[in-house]
């Protein structure tokens, strides 16, 4: 059935791109360079999506054998031909970035960062065959003060601007318009309270992100409950609902890239939290340690937090507590202010004192007082701290194997901050094929409809760090090429 074809359109263009982050920019630039007119719709007042707000590291395979590694990680949730297409396109990233006027440099483990030995996530799963073909890059910039996500955003949005591609901010897309043949021929949107019907002569590309800020969708689909988000508050699953309404299939809805964050009162997004010293541990709500705090993949904190207590019918680690000492407080801010949407509104104090005053960080003279202010079990937390300190002095953590270099006893006074799993992004959304075409529930492409980026990303099971942006750029370009290559509607 045609999806409400309007009597007349308010405007028309060749390609409509819904969502203006890196994937949308890549799609728009590619379509424009192939001669298509492009309209970029963005629901938020500021564009960039999660791409602007994150680290924007980019994986470029060393060669095509990288596909073997990714196929293994996908655990049959993504077809090999899609992975092959991704790898082939990702091999062109360096050249494409150069054409855009940028330059990539290899990401170095020895760069400054948090002082503990983080898991080396250049290669997230080093034991899997083909992993050695992973190479991680970020954008080199002549503005080093910008975090790499912002540098990438400046580069791609600058290229959108130079091509005079029209951008409509504060213009959320609401529905996909189809003709009698089932082709997607336009988008219904809203701007300044007015409904708009936009004709897409060649195609519509959805790059509007996931559903990090949709509690209902998160509760339904994610295996952890009570998950917060760090990035773009505009990611409310709009693209998923639009596609479902026209019979589109969805995939990878249980997958996420998950860090840890503090949900401050009055803030929509959580603050990503780092520890600028070694004197910290993670404990569940009862005060029990549960993991080597320094050896967690930056995108897979959900794994450590996923334990469900069937006896008490609860997730005892959601939220959890980080317990730490003055070493952490003095050393540096617990939020680095370089990523996440809150960086636009709030600068964390360098000595964390403001956040103590606000009650975001709790202080306690001793373990007893710590238990009181956090409602942890006193005996449990006291025992946990005592044992951890013994391990630190001995240089060995028999419970969780925290490396000797990362062991340091925690001295009173103690501090605590309540933390949640906090999404960098979801991965689920419309199922797509190797041409970035969105598929219906029978596995057939919905004509003239494409998707790219985290909206229905190809990462369906295990996630290799830095592949999200890599995928944005790869499938953004594929979608842009294919949409621009369609014959125009009459």
């Amino acid at each position: 059935m045609p999806e409400g074809i309007p009597d007349r359109y308010d405007t028309e263009t060749d390609v409509v791109v819904v969502g203006y982050g890196a994937a949308g920019a890549a799609a728009a630039i590619t379509a424009s360079d192939l001669g298509a007119s492009v309209l970029l719709l963005e629901k938020m007042p500021v564009a960039g999506g999660n791409s602007r707000l994150g680290g924007a590291n980019i994986i470029i395979p060393r060669d095509t054998r990288f596909a073997d590694y990714l196929e293994r990680l996908s655990f049959k949730t993504t077809e090999r031909e899609i992975i092959d297409v991704f790898v082939a396109e990702a091999l062109k990233h360096e050249e494409w970035i150069k054409q855009m006027g940028g330059e990539l440099e290899i990401w170095k483990l020895e760069q400054m960062g948090v002082p503990y030995m983080m898991k080396d996530d250049r290669i997230s799963f080093p034991g899997v065959p083909g992993a050695e073909n992973t190479a991680r890059y970020h954008l080199k910039g002549n503005k080093p003060e910008l975090y790499s996500g912002q540098r990438l955003w400046e580069l791609v949005s600058g290229n959108v601007e130079r091509r005079n591609i029209e951008v409509m901010l504060r213009t959320p897309a609401k529905e996909l318009i189809r003709n009698h043949a089932g082709e997607v021929v336009g988008v219904g949107a809203e701007s300044a309270g007015r409904k708009l019907a936009i004709k897409a002569r060649k195609g519509v590309i959805l790059t509007c992100g996931g559903y990090e800020n949709n509690d209902a969708l998160k509760w339904d689909f994610l295996p952890l409950k009570g998950v917060k988000f760090i990035g773009n508050p505009g990611n409310t699953g709009d693209g998923i609902r639009m596609v479902q309404r026209i019979g589109g299939d969805i995939w990878h809805m249980t997958r996420m890239a998950c860090y840890i964050g503090y949900q401050a009162p009055g803030y929509e997004a959580a603050f990503s939290i780092f520890f600028f010293g070694l004197g910290f541990i993670f404990v569940d709500r009862y005060g029990k340690r549960f993991v080597d705090e320094t050896n967690i993949d930056a995108h897979e904190y959900n794994v450590s937090l996923s334990y469900f207590d069937r006896e008490h019918v609860e997730f005892p680690r959601i939220p959890f507590w980080a317990v730490f000492d003055e070493d952490i407080i003095r050393h540096g801010p617990m939020n680095l202010g370089r990523s996440g949407s809150n960086k636009d509104y709030y600068k964390w104090s360098l000595d964390n004192k403001e956040e103590i005053k606000k009650g975001w960080i709790l202080k306690a003279k001793n373990a007893r007082e710590l238990a009181k202010v956090t409602s942890m079990d006193e005996a449990t937390i006291e025992n946990t701290i005592t044992r951890f300190n013994e391990y630190s002095r001995a240089g060995k953590d028999p419970e969780f194997g925290r490396a000797k270099i990362n062991l340091k006893a925690i001295e009173s006074p103690f501090y605590a901050i309540r933390l949640w799993p906090a999404l960098l992004n979801t991965q689920g959304g419309p199922r797509r094929d190797k041409e970035a075409r969105v598929l219906d529930v029978d596995g057939n492409p919905i004509p003239r409809l494409y998707a790219a980026g985290e909206l229905g990303s190809i990462w369906g099971f295990l996630y290799q760090t830095a592949c999200n942006i890599s995928e944005c750029l790869a499938f953004g370009r594929i979608a842009g090429r294919n949409a621009a290559g369609n014959p125009p509607l009459g």
Binding site: E110, G113, M117, P144, R338, G395
Partner: protein, 144 residues
């Protein structure tokens, strides 16, 4: 000018020591309120003890002159209250493999300063520089 030199051996391969060297420098307990500006620059606070008082000094830091696996320099520009003291402290760490599992680390610190209160602080400044090296050494020793 103040010059300090120290050498020590770490029971870990050179590659490993190299990968953690910048973190080790930043781990120094003397450095507080570290604000990482970008991959090379940071700001921080350095507290220098003068009697019973901890005197806070502003630090603009840079990890520079990096020769992969071999050496890098932590350059600190240290200032106290409207340049009553101004110091440039340059600490170069040079690595060399002793054998497969050990790395020799040579540290050389050069401190140049000016300001009306420099003479009063010079002993303490030297002690602080030594503490930064000691902190770095202590961190790296845990790689063994």
């Amino acid at each position: 000018m103040i010059v300090l030199e120290r050498q020590f051996t770490i029971g870990a391969p050179q590659q490993t020591v190299w990968e953690y060297l910048a973190r080790a420098i930043l781990s120094s307990p003397r450095l507080e309120r570290i604000d990482i500006i970008d991959s090379e620059h940071f700001d921080a606070l350095l507290r220098v003890k003068l009697g019973f008082i901890n005197v806070p000094m502003a630090v603009n830091g840079q990890i520079a002159d990096s020769v992969h696996l071999e050496s890098l320099t932590a350059k600190l520009r240290i200032r106290f209250v409207k340049d009553l003291i101004k110091l440039n402290q340059s600490t170069t760490f040079t690595l060399s493999a002793v054998d497969e599992g050990q790395t020799h680390v040579a540290c050389r610190v050069m401190i140049e300063g000016m300001g009306p209160l420099l003479t009063l602080f010079s002993g303490k400044v030297k002690a602080s520089a030594e503490e930064i090296i000691s902190g770095t050494q202590a961190y790296l020793e845990r790689l063994s």
